[in-house]
């Protein structure tokens, strides 16, 4: 029994193709049933997001399943094979498991370490469970994928730093002030990014928000939104020293705050540090202010630089994440193999016994002169011989059950002794 993944992602297909291949949430259950109705497909799961469509399946005949699923996907979405195939990727066995683990851990995502994909995969799993298209193997595989994703998120720093400008601002503030809970934020002007950053700071627990704007009514409205205080525009320079964090985004064409004014404010604060974020273009705050002691001035480009640095740092974590995934794949593959061991042992013994009884009958038929006791002795001999022959192979195979090796011989034994594949996939096979 093998796991395979057939799909496409933002890495292999442009959005025009992806949007045609995506599954509507309401249509997924029917699609799952259609998939498992395919002769070669035993278990199935569909993951469909704006960036990827993954069909995960379990099959005894992976090549056949691959073809069937490919056709199904094209037919279902009224695409031709020629249109679809160049964008599809197919993974088998350990590669399929690795792909699943990587996707779940957000290593394959557009933004490394993004948190949504795990929830989306869990949703896809639940849908498949309800549709009863998930069996023993996919069940265990998906659960493992979830725990691997959790390990990657907690044991590496892949998801721990900010990759948006507004989160980066909060992160920087923490590097300067450590605990934000007693701090005051001053909002100068308004604007989407400014307000978003302010919202993040409020979520992070700042104590007070001051808002100032050329239009006092606007300041009042915003202040109410953040449960803060409005400050008349003429007065804000006087209040500047109260702010630990300043977010500035006005439409002013020139410099609003000079380096001298900021230096004076910091001095008034007894040199407690001040973090200023200048989102405006053209800039509101004199860049030279950054040279003053205790002043940390960042504009939008600087914040982008932080995001880039964070992404680079996340890249370094990929190596660690891949190592975790490697270890987990090995474990899962061993478990998968061990599933085959017991039926194989049984089938091997049955085959040997079949041969033994056949030969015994033939021989005894030609030895009519033997008495009852001699017949029994010959039978006992044949049994003892068979057991002796089987003893060593059985011992080795049994090791595969507890994961201490031996499972790799299952395929060899099946081939050498021409054993039927183990049953239990709910499908009839007439090839033997």
């Amino acid at each position: 029994m093998e796991i395979l993944v057939v799909g496409l992602s933002h890495k292999t297909a442009p959005v025009e193709i992806r949007e045609r291949v995506a599954f509507q949430p309401a249509a997924i259950e029917a699609a799952l049933h259609a998939l498992t109705a395919l002769p070669a497909v035993a278990e199935a799961l569909i993951l469909s997001t704006c960036n990827r469509v993954e069909l995960v399946a379990c099959s005894r005949h992976p090549e056949q399943a691959e073809a069937e699923i490919g056709h199904f996907l094209a037919d279902h979405h009224a695409l031709s094979q020629a249109e679809l195939t160049p964008h599809l990727y197919v993974h088998h066995g350990a590669d399929a498991i690795r792909h699943l683990y990587r996707v779940a851990s957000s290593l394959d995502s557009m933004v490394l370490g993004e948190p949504q994909i795990l929830g989306q995969l869990k949703g896809a799993y639940n849908t498949a469970v309800e549709a009863r298209t998930v069996g023993l193997i996919l069940n265990r595989c998906l659960h493992k994928a979830f725990s691997v994703a959790k390990r990657v998120r907690t044991e590496t720093a892949i998801a721990s730093s900010a990759v948006s400008v507004s989160f980066a601002a909060v992160e920087l503030a923490r590097k300067i002030f450590d605990d934000l809970s007693g701090k005051t934020v001053l909002l100068i002007g308004a604007g989407e990014m400014c307000e978003l950053a302010a919202r993040h700071f409020v979520t992070a627990g700042v104590a007070k928000v001051l808002v100032t704007n050329r239009t006092f009514a606007r300041a009042e409205r915003l202040a109410q939104e953040f449960d803060g205080d409005p400050v008349p525009f003429e007065d804000f320079r006087r209040e500047l020293h109260r702010a630990d964090i300043v977010l500035s985004s006005t439409g002013a064409t020139g410099i609003l705050l000079t380096a001298g004014e900021i230096r004076a404010a910091v001095k008034q604060r007894r040199y407690r540090p001040m973090f200023l974020i200048d989102i405006a273009v053209p800039r509101d705050i004199d860049p030279k202010a950054n040279d003053a002691e205790g002043v940390y001035l960042y504009d939008v480009d600087d914040l982008q630089g932080v995001v880039q640095a964070n992404l680079k740092e996340r890249q370094k974590e990929v190596v660690k994440a891949e190592a975790i995934i490697d270890a987990e794949i090995g474990q899962f593959a061993t478990w998968l193999d061990s599933l085959e061991v017991v039926p194989t042992i049984k089938a091997l013994r049955e085959r040997f016994d079949l041969i033994r009884r056949g030969e015994l009958e033939r021989s005894l038929a030609g030895l009519k002169q033997l008495g009852e006791r001699e017949r029994e002795a010959v039978e006992a001999f044949s049994l003892a011989l068979m057991n002796k022959f089987l003893h060593r192979p059985m011992t080795v195979l049994k090791q595969g059950q507890d994961g201490s090796g031996g499972s790799e011989y299952v395929d060899a034994v099946r081939a050498l002794f021409d054993l039927a594949p183990p049953g239990g996939d709910g499908k009839s096979h007439d090839e033997e």
């Binding site: 920087l172 300067i176 450590d178 640095a309």
Partner: protein, 280 residues
């Protein structure tokens, strides 16, 4: 091999292990390494305490009369103070510094060999104030050693935040505020310890040599250092000196301290010099 030599080398090895573990924690950020490094340092400290105790019992006096002993005792104080610190601030970078310092001090001490330990201390030095003075002074020094380390880290982190170019260290160093608070804490604990150390030293000097103050190089340099730290404390409390200024001060102050601790003993003569303990 004698017990104390065995213990000494054992301590050195455990400190080395702790340093490596802390560095692994810093570079690779593995939580298991973090736990193991803290345990290793604790184990090293216990071994080190046993070493000092053995030495104390063998010699009959506080083992600080030659350079290796002084270095070893100082290392013990720094590690001990840091272990207390770890209850409040968990900083792997600082841990690496402290464990590394412990290694270096013990290794240097062993390499120098030092003059053979004085078997019989001159009777004037047999007074309970002697160990008290030494321990207080060393604890104060240990505090300032930590402030020194925190000061360096502060300057590094501040440079990155100001210049907006971030290297791997940025992600592993604590926030500026935390480093500044460590600086402040070290100052508020270290200064009284240093003061008491100097006072007990003077009282003992009077008992041993007949005068509280005789402008012996160590006392003089000790006073200079004390004044530096007093200025820093004053600046903190009244004017609001903090951050960069405090960090630079902590570095300069510690260098002055090291000079008054080591430089004087090595380079100059006088009652404090180790040389004066030889031959009574």
């Amino acid at each position: 091999m004698s017990t104390d030599l065995l213990l000494y080398q054992g301590t050195l090895l455990v400190y080395l292990a702790a340093t490596v573990l802390y560095l692994v924690d810093v570079i690779r950020q593995r939580p298991q390494a973090g736990l193991m490094s803290r345990l290793a340092l604790l184990a090293g400290f216990v071994l080190h305490s046993a070493t000092l105790l053995t030495l104390l019992l063998a010699l009959g006096y506080t083992p600080v009369t030659n350079l290796p002993q002084a270095l070893g005792f100082f290392a013990w104080a720094v590690v001990g103070v840091f272990l207390l610190f770890q209850l409040r601030y968990r900083l792997a970078v600082l841990g690496a510094f402290v464990a590394g310092l412990g290694c270096i001090l013990l290794a240097v001490g062993e390499l120098l060999g030092g003059s053979s330990p004085v078997r019989q201390l001159p009777p004037i030095l047999h007074h309970w104030l002697f160990p008290v003075h030494v321990v207080l002074a060393f604890l104060g020094d240990a505090m300032f050693a930590l402030a020194f380390a925190a000061g360096i880290m502060y300057l590094v982190q501040e440079r990155m935040l100001k210049s907006k170019s971030f290297n791997a260290l940025y992600y592993r160093l604590p926030s500026l505020d935390q480093l500044d608070r460590i600086n402040y804490a070290c100052l508020t604990w270290g200064f009284p310890l240093l003061t008491l150390g100097m006072i007990t030293g003077s009282i003992w000097a009077d008992i041993a040599w007949g005068s509280y103050w005789n402008w012996d190089p160590k006392q003089t340099w000790g006073l200079v250092t004390w004044l530096l730290y007093a200025a820093m404390l004053h600046g903190r409390l009244t004017v609001g000196w903090r951050g960069r200024r405090a960090a630079i001060f902590a570095i300069i102050g510690f260098l002055a301290l090291m000079f008054s601790f080591l430089g004087v003993n090595l380079l100059m003569h006088g009652q404090h010099a180790f040389s004066s303990f030889q031959g009574g």
